[in-house]
């Protein structure tokens, strides 16, 4: 399939990636390439390896790459720590954002933002300047500033946690954002707020991978490409109408595809 922006170098290239956790193979040869400005959707049954792929790209230490490579802006990131990946512009929006009692959300966001700014050779922000910036970004996801004084995600509803993820994405201005089931647990209004936030943050230099089960997020954010994952592989890639087909016919055909293989 031809890239929409073929004249640009890809931001992210995953080539024939095999990975396991505690010797259990999860990814069995995933290949995907994302160019600047592109939105990709990855769909598939629970347990097919979507979340694993996102965590491996972000550098989760529990997973072991057994074959293949991940390139970010042309460089192999295999040896990079999760924080180095984040600082250089890889963002993972968690399916289940972690609650961290006792750690102030505001302080956490400030340290994270400054880590990214330092990488970009931008001046680090003090508490006052950071508060100005964060208040501006809060509007994108219609969050109340009261959330900042609470502990990270503690006592947040499902929707608030997801909005907090998008707030972090807005502050970190990543080159690639992998959003793992950002739509799960959201009501229609919250979904629209989150989708609108993502659209405002993304631009021609940003690549986005949306991991989702449902068409409803893709109604709000139209993907350039849709990939279907099954048994640790991408078994089909198409344009946005592929998601509509999946919505209509379900995932049963993917089981047959795997059996035939």
């Amino acid at each position: 399939m031809q890239s929409k922006t073929k004249e640009l170098d890809p931001i992210l290239e995953v080539n024939n990636l095999f990975a396991s956790i505690e010797n259990l193979p999860i990814l069995k040869g995933v290949t995907i390439s994302v160019n600047p400005g592109e939105i990709h959707a990855i769909m598939g049954r629970n347990g097919c390896g979507k979340s694993t792929l996102s965590k491996i790209i972000a550098g989760h230490p529990s997973y072991n790459i057994t074959k293949g490579e991940i390139k970010f802006t042309g460089n192999d990131i295999h040896s990079l720590e999760p924080e180095e990946r984040a600082q250089s512009g890889i963002f993972l929006g968690f399916q289940y954002p972690i609650e961290i009692p006792g750690v102030s959300n505001l302080e956490f966001l400030r340290v994270a933002t400054n880590a990214r700014r330092k990488f970009l050779n931008k001046e680090e922000l003090d508490t006052f300047d950071f508060e100005d910036l964060v208040k501006e970004k809060l509007d994108l996801v219609k969050m109340d500033s009261a959330f900042l004084s609470r502990s990270i995600n503690q006592g947040f509803s499902g929707g608030e946690k997801k909005r907090n993820e998008i707030l972090q994405m807005a502050l970190l201005e990543p080159k690639i954002a992998i959003l793992d089931e950002t739509d799960s647990g959201l009501d229609i209004d919250a979904l629209r707020i989150v989708a609108s936030g993502i659209k405002k943050i993304s631009n021609e230099q940003t690549g986005i991978i949306l991991i989702t089960h449902y068409q409803r997020l893709l109604d709000e954010i139209q993907p350039d490409y849709v990939h279907v994952m099954a048994d640790g592989q991408i078994i089909k890639t198409g344009e946005s109408d592929l998601a509509l087909e999946l919505e209509k016919y379900g995932y049963e055909w993917t089981d047959n595809f795997i059996k035939e293989q």
Partner: protein, 405 residues
């Protein structure tokens, strides 16, 4: 065990006081605690011996205070240096206790007490000279915050005693700081007596230097409608033992305890608490935390005693512990002894490690492993530190701990 040899030979003090004589007689019969008893069995024997290895010196070096006074409003006292305080103000008074009051109070306490359980106090009173006993009577509800320092001198054993009587309706913030000098042992015994309707917010911060040891004993008596809150922090001792004994004498009183001990290297720090309810409607909320790194050992043993008279007691004791190294060790044992039948008591203990998913979450936002661990530890410690009175100093202290860890 130089101190014990000196006790046996009665060479400890040239001219012992009445209290010293009583305690010496008690200890001569049985100079060491029973290390097989529940109260002492986890004490590291060689470290305990090193505690007793220094000789008692009457001449002490001047205490180097670790930080400046946060405000002129604070009353700062150093046990052994300025015991002659006498303040009579419009809204409060702080008066030195008479010698006879001190003797009577200590005598009353040691005569009825179990020798093994109160061994630390007996040793303290054997060695604590008159100059090293600070006794105060405090009253009023607009008392400035009190800061009381106790310190050991380098290469010696020092014993300090603090006795505070809080009169009816008094209200005070009190911070007690115990400083262990290098290669030294400090014995600190504290007695607090809270009369009816008093409110005492007490912080105890103990930290040492290389090879310093501490025996810290705290005895609190609470009368009707009194409220006692304790926030404590112990760190950087080769060997430290914090014994807390609180007695709600008539019930209808409230006790809050939040404590943390931080161990590193080869340290051993232990906290033992005994909470005695001797009347109805008593309340306790206790959290004890340990944070153990390297090859260190942290111990917590908590006991809540609820006799038949203590109906409607509401008590909670939690022990939360964090192991930072696979070679570190934590022993914890919260326990209840309940005879009364109409009570609400709960206890629990957890031992865990730094949460890897939390660390990954923070790292995936660009924080280094060190920064993420520091934030996690800071939040773990902060819950306790924030309960220690006198705000500015506690944050300086938190910074100090985090820099040193």
């Amino acid at each position: 065990m130089q101190i014990i040899e000196e006790i046996k030979k009665n060479e400890l003090i040239s001219n012992p006081s009445e209290i010293q004589k009583i305690c010496l007689d008690k200890l001569k019969l049985n100079p060491l605690p029973n290390i097989k008893s529940e109260y002492w069995r986890l004490s590291n024997k060689s470290k305990f011996s090193s505690f007793l290895d220094h000789s008692n010196k009457n001449k002490e070096s001047k205490v180097n205070l670790p930080y400046k006074k946060a405000s002129q409003n604070i009353i700062r006292l150093i046990i052994g240096e300025n015991n002659s305080i006498n303040l009579e103000k419009e809204n409060y008074s702080i008066k030195k206790l008479k010698e006879i009051e001190i003797i009577d109070y200590i005598k009353k306490n040691i005569s009825n007490s179990d020798q093994n359980d109160h061994w630390s106090d007996l040793l303290n009173h054997c060695l604590s000279s008159k100059e090293n006993i600070l006794g105060l009577n405090i009253s009023g509800n607009k008392i400035p915050p009190l800061e009381i320092f106790s310190a050991s001198s380098p290469d010696s054993f020092n014993a300090k005693t603090l006795i505070l009587f809080f009169e009816k309706n008094s209200k005070v913030d009190l911070i007690q700081i115990n400083l262990g000098n290098k290669n030294s042992s400090l014995s600190q015994s504290t007695y607090l007596c809270l009369e009816e309707n008093t409110l005492v917010n007490h912080g105890v911060v103990s930290y040492g230097e290389s090879k310093s040891n501490l025996l810290n004993s705290l005895n609190v008596i609470q009368k009707n409608k009194s409220e006692y809150s304790l926030g404590s922090l112990h760190f950087k001792f080769n060997y430290a033992r914090f014994e807390i004994r609180i007695n709600q004498l008539d019930g209808n009183a409230k006790t809050n305890i939040k404590g943390i001990q931080i161990t590193k290297n080869n340290d051993q720090i232990a906290t033992y608490t005994t909470m005695q309810f001797n009347g109805p409607n008593g309340f306790l909320d206790q959290i004890n935390k340990s944070l153990a790194d390297d090859k260190s050992h942290a111990v917590f043993e908590g006991s809540i005693i609820v006799p038949k008279i203590a109906q409607k007691t509401d008590a909670s004791q939690l022990s939360r512990n964090l192991l930072l190294s696979r070679h570190a060790k934590i022993d914890t044992k919260p326990q209840l002894e309940i005879i009364a039948d109409d009570v609400k008591c709960k206890h629990g203990a957890t031992i865990s490690q730094l949460n890897e998913e939390e660390l990954f979450y923070m790292r995936s936002r660009g924080l280094t492993l060190a920064e993420a661990s520091k934030l996690q530890l800071s939040s773990y410690i902060q819950e306790i530190i924030s309960s220690i009175p006198i705000s500015k100093d506690r944050w300086d202290l938190l910074d100090k701990i985090l820099k040193e860890n």
